[in-house]
Amino acid sequence: MTTRVGVEVSIAIADAVKLCNADVVAAYPITPQTHIVEHLAELVANGELDAEYIPVESEHSAMSACVGAAAAGARTFTATAGQGLELMHEVLYIPSAMQLPMVMAVANRALSSPLSVWGDHSDLMAVRDTGWIQIVVENGQQAVDNIICAFRIAEDKRVLLPVMVHLDGFYLTHVIEPIIFPEQGDVDKFLPSYNYPFPLNPDKPVAMGDFGPPFIYTEAKWMQEMNLRASKKVIMECWNKFGKAFGRQYLPVEKYHSDGASVLLLTMGCFSETAMVAIDELKAEGNDVGQIRLRLWRPFPFEEFRQAVKDADVLIVLDRAISFGGPGGVVASEVKAALYEQDKKPKVVSFVAGLGGRDITVSGFKEIIQKGIEISRTGSENEYEIYGVRE
C-alpha cells in the first residue's frame, strides 16, 4: 500500500518504532523531542505497543536504562535533543564500546547558553566521536524509513552497534508531512526478531563493561574502530535492501545535480531541501551548480564523498554549529581533511549559518553560494565565513 498520510513527523517516528516492535523505550522528554516519546508512552499505555516504557529522571538515566535493556537482548529505543544529548554524553560511549544495539532519534537542537530550544547542529557535532553510527535525515519520510533501517543495521551480527538518527528539531519534528507507512508484515520481514549473542542470563553468566588495563585497552579501541568502519558495507546493503523492498533508496552521500557541476554546495539535514530550490533557481539562471548531502556522518563515507566531489572546482560547505576557536565548521574541517591528500580537489569554502533556529531562505542559500564562488577566486583571511550575522 502506498497511501500517504498527513502526520506530524514526531508522531510518525513513534509509529515507526511501533512498526519495529521495540521491546523497551527509556526516555526523558525534552523540547523538541517531546512528541516522539509522548506518543510512544501513549502507544504503550494503550496496549498498541507491547513494550516496557521506562520513565526515567534524566537523560543520563535514560541512556543507562537503554544500555541495560540492550544488554538483556531487548530491542531498545530512545530519543533526545540538545541539552538532553549532552547530559547523556558520558553514557553514549558505553553502548558503542560494549556493542549493544539500540536506536536513538535526536531532534537536533542548539546548546545553551543563551538558552535556545531551536534547531542547529551543535548537539550533533558534540557527539561526533562517541562511536555511534550516525545517519542524518532531511524529511519525515526519510526519518521513518531510517528508523526502520537503523534497527536492522544496529542488530546485524556483523555490526552490533547503536545508531543515531538525526533530524532537525522543530523544522522536522513539529511539522505535518505526507508519510507513507510500510505495512506491518513487510516491516516484520525486513526486520526479523533478533537474538543478541550474549544477553544477560543467570544460566550463562557474562561480564560486560569490564575494566581494560593498558595491556588490552588499545586492542579494545582498535576493534571498535575496525567494527564501526566495517559497518558501512552493512549500512549500504541495508539501504539497498530497503530500496528494493519499499522503493526508496538511500545513499551515504546523496546528490542533486552534482555530477559534472563545477560548484557544489554540501549540506546536512532538512535545510538541504531549501538549498535544492536555490540550486534550481541558480541553474535556471545559467549557473553550473549542484548539491551533495552527507546522509551518513559516521562512519564517514570517505570513498563516496571523494567520488562525488572529484570533478568540482569549488565546494561550499554549510555548517550549522561552531567549533569555537578552531576551524569553525566541523563538517568543513572534516571535508578538508578527507581531501588533503588528493591530487585533484575542489577549493573548499566554509560557511557557518542557521544557528539556534535562524532560518536560511532560498535567497540566503543563493547568496551563500554566490559569495562562496567569489571567495574561491579571491581567497579569504578568515578560517570560515559566518553568514547572516549583524555587525
Binding site: 556493542q99 553468566p205 560486560m208 586492542e219 582498535w222 575496525m226
Partner: protein, 97 residues
C-alpha cells in the same frame, strides 16, 4: 587462557569485550599495586577476625593455625587491617623489592 597478555590481538577479543568466563577477575594480581605489606605478631592475635571484616579486597583468610592472614596475590597494602586491629598484631612495612 590460551594466550598470554602480550599475545592477545584485537581479533581475539569477544564482541564488545564481553567476558564469557565467570570469575576471571581472580586472575588479576591486585597485589602488584602494593607498596607496603602487612606483617603479623600472632602472639598478640585473639583471632577476632576484625581485619577480615574490614579488608576492602576480601583477601584475608584464616591459616592452618586459625590466624587471619592476607593473600599476598590480592593484598593491595592499603593498611586498613593494621589500622583496625586493636590488639596491634599487624604492622605495615615497606615493600623492599
Amino acid at each position: 587462557m590460551a594466550k598470554s597478555e602480550s599475545e592477545i590481538t584485537w581479533k581475539d577479543l569477544e564482541i564488545g569485550c564481553i567476558v564469557t568466563e565467570p570469575g576471571s577477575a581472580r586472575q588479576y594480581e591486585t597485589g602488584a599495586w602494593r607498596s607496603q605489606r602487612p606483617t603479623y605478631d600472632f602472639d598478640k592475635c585473639i583471632k577476632c577476625g576484625i581485619c577480615q571484616l574490614y579488608c576492602p579486597e576480601g583477601c584475608i583468610e584464616q591459616n592452618q593455625d586459625g590466624y587471619f592472614e592476607a593473600n599476598m596475590f590480592y593484598c593491595k597494602g592499603c593498611g586498613i587491617c593494621a589500622r583496625e586491629c586493636w590488639p596491634r598484631v599487624i604492622t605495615m612495612v615497606e615493600e623492599e623489592e
